[in-house]
């Protein structure tokens, strides 16, 4: 019996790992349903309860629903942290990670593969949130092309937070530790410009925190496509911050993976 093993190309490895990630995701309703339902639930509450905010002078739109529609996109992306991190931590805990490490699999292909399932959920979320928003009466000021860019930004944000989750999962090897990040992410979300435009936040400290909070720029990028149209600065900041978080998350994940996968 002769060995037939050869090292496949990075894209081939990534394809197989991505396929596994998608299959796993589709077979776990608990991973798909909450990230779809909870953000819509919160959107409904916010849109019905905070509608009076549009009466504030200089509020950028007359529809609070349209203003708040960026919120579920962000909230859904936070679920990506949980999903990506939990999956990899479970693989470490079950020993499946060792099985993968014993193949010619490369580290980058593992990271790309693990993020694919997250992006699948992110895509489903983007379609569901935009569909629900439009059905409820919101309109997209940037038009059809804006929807494409909205999806692209949304997926970029999901990938960015997914990379943070991967780092947490690889570093700790504990699904519980990854889930511990969830409240922290929500604090970041609520300390951003999610509920009000930054220049309308009355409290100085809140305005300062929202200004240095990168989540504000992600939300404002998403929101600009819905309520403004084409705002180059908001989009550049949105994509730029998403890319920066993704790059930091991927770099940290690569280091954590190198420590975790100590194979010679």
């Amino acid at each position: 019996m002769s060995a037939r093993s050869t090292t496949p190309a990075l894209r081939t490895q990534a394809r197989y790992l991505a396929w596994r990630s998608v299959v796993r995701t589709m077979r776990q309703p608990i991973v798909i349903v909450p990230p779809l339902v909870f953000p819509l639930f919160l959107l409904a509450i916010n849109a019905s309860g905070l509608g009076a905010a549009t009466n504030i002078p200089d509020f950028p739109t007359s529809s609070y629903l349209a203003f708040a529609l960026a919120f579920p996109f962000m909230q859904g992306s936070i679920f990506a942290t949980n999903t990506a991190g939990t999956n990899v931590a479970q693989d470490i805990g079950s020993g499946f990670f060792n099985r993968l490490a014993l193949t010619p699999m490369s580290g980058p292909s593992l990271l790309v593969g693990q993020l694919t399932g997250v992006l699948l959920i992110g895509m489903l979320q983007a379609v569901a949130f935009l569909g629900a928003g439009l059905a409820a009466g919101a309109s997209l000021q940037s038009g059809v092309l804006g929807a494409v860019v909205l999806f692209a930004l949304s997926l970029s944000i999901a990938a960015a937070f997914g990379a943070i989750g991967l780092f947490a999962g690889l570093r700790t090897g504990s699904a519980e530790a990854v889930q511990g990040l969830f409240p922290l992410m929500f604090i970041l979300l609520f300390l951003s410009s999610a509920a009000l435009p930054r220049d309308l936040i009355a409290s100085d400290w809140f305005q300062t925190v929202a200004t240095i909070n990168p989540v504000s720029y992600l939300i404002e990028g998403l929101r600009s496509l819905i309520i403004t149209g084409w705002d180059a600065e908001a989009l550049a900041l949105g994509f730029g911050v998403a890319f920066a978080i993704f790059a930091i998350g991927l770099w940290a994940s690569t280091l954590a993976l190198r420590q975790r996968m100590v194979r010679t």
């Binding site: 037939r4 093993s5 050869t6 197989y16 596994r20 299959v23 010619p104 010679t264």
Partner: protein
């Protein structure tokens, strides 16, 4: 070091932080096509050795080559030629058996056609053809072990590492796995490095056995040679009439050294081995002594373990695990705490299938 399908290890050491040496300078050589049984209790250093030889754990000192490739400098080449089934089959419970074959084959660079052909062949070979499209979460322990073995073989490895492959299996599943492993070595020339805590497994399956205790190899050789080192078999007899015990002792003492026994029986260690058995029977017959029971006990590997370590393999693991903090959480998996006890019972239907 030789560039064949063998394994060569020289002075291999693994130390963990704040712990003793889990592996303390072992030397061993496994010949191509050989089944090498690595026998020892829990915590002895078996799994740490396997993790080092399979490139999952860098050694602290020493060197080793697998199929001629250095485990430290040529890790990727080692992984290409080995198949590994680690302790506790690590499977994705959400995937089916066939999907596991696809993933494993794909990551090893097999083409889709090869994955299908090889996957179907191996699933049938381990008796999982009918269950191939069921999710692994519904498999029994024996089925998971067999799938694990099939996955280790998907890329036709030259050397197979099996870390306690039958722990927790019922007798029938264990026998089926032994047949498969034995066939791989005999028919296909695959070298097998097998760790076990079961004496019977090492005795019946391995061409040679290495006994590891507290990180060191304390004995090595064929099972027969190891047992022969310990020496002569013992003979135990129970007289048909209780008042004949002293006469029986007198006759048997001509053939060997008396051993302490109870329950009205008499035992000796035979001076010249089993060849004397016929003389013993003739002697008893000549003196008119009838025996209710006559048993010949060959030395076992447990006797070897006892002679080399001063304790029985049975239960030695419990003491060792309790005494040592080997820091093996670094390996991400833990060995079971139980000693060399009988396997846990399993699904009878699964047992019947295998």
């Amino acid at each position: 070091m030789e560039s064949s399908n063998g394994i060569e290890v020289e002075g291999l050491v693994r130390e963990f932080k704040n712990g003793p040496r889990a592996v303390d300078g072992i030397d061993l050589r496994v010949r191509p096509g050989e089944i090498y049984g690595f026998l020892g209790p829990n915590g002895a250093g078996k799994s740490t050795t396997v993790h080092m030889l399979t490139t999952l754990l860098p050694p602290t000192a020493g060197r080793a080559s697998v199929a001629g490739y250095d485990i430290v400098r040529e890790g990727a080449a080692v992984r290409d030629v080995i198949g590994v089934a680690l302790q506790d089959a690590a499977l994705d419970l959400l995937l089916t058996g066939r999907e596991h074959m696809k993933l494993q084959g794909g990551l090893h660079g097999l083409s889709p056609g090869e994955i299908k052909q090889r996957g179907d062949e191996l699933l049938a070979r381990v008796g999982l053809a009918e269950a191939a499209d069921r999710r692994v979460g519904g498999y029994s322990g024996g089925m998971k072990r067999r799938l694990d073995l099939a996955l280790a073989l998907v890329h036709s490895p030259r050397i197979l590492f099996l870390d306690e492959p039958t722990t927790g299996l019922d007798v029938q599943s264990r026998a089926a796995l032994w047949d498969e492993v034995s066939g791989l070595a005999r028919r296909e020339g695959v070298t097998v490095f097998l760790t076990t805590q079961y004496l019977e497994e090492a005795d019946s399956l391995a061409d040679r056995v290495g006994i590891i205790h507290r990180g060191s190899i304390v004995a090595e050789g064929t099972p027969a040679a190891l047992k022969a080192q310990i020496g002569r078999p013992t003979l135990e007899a129970v007289p048909a009439e209780a008042d004949q015990v002293e006469r029986l002792e007198g006759i048997l003492s001509r053939f060997g050294d008396p051993l302490p026994v109870s329950n009205g029986s008499v035992a000796i260690r035979l001076s010249d081995g089993t060849e004397e058995l016929a003389d013993v029977v003739r002697g008893l017959d000549g003196e008119g002594i009838k025996v209710a029971d006559l048993q010949l006990h060959a030395p076992s590997l447990d006797d070897v373990f006892l002679a080399k370590t001063g304790r029985s393999l049975e239960g030695a693991g419990d003491e060792q695990v309790a005494e040592e903090d080997t820091g093996e959480e670094h390996l991400q998996r833990h060995q079971p705490i139980s000693g060399a006890s009988a396997p846990s019972p399993e699904d009878p239907a699964e047992a019947a299938r295998s």
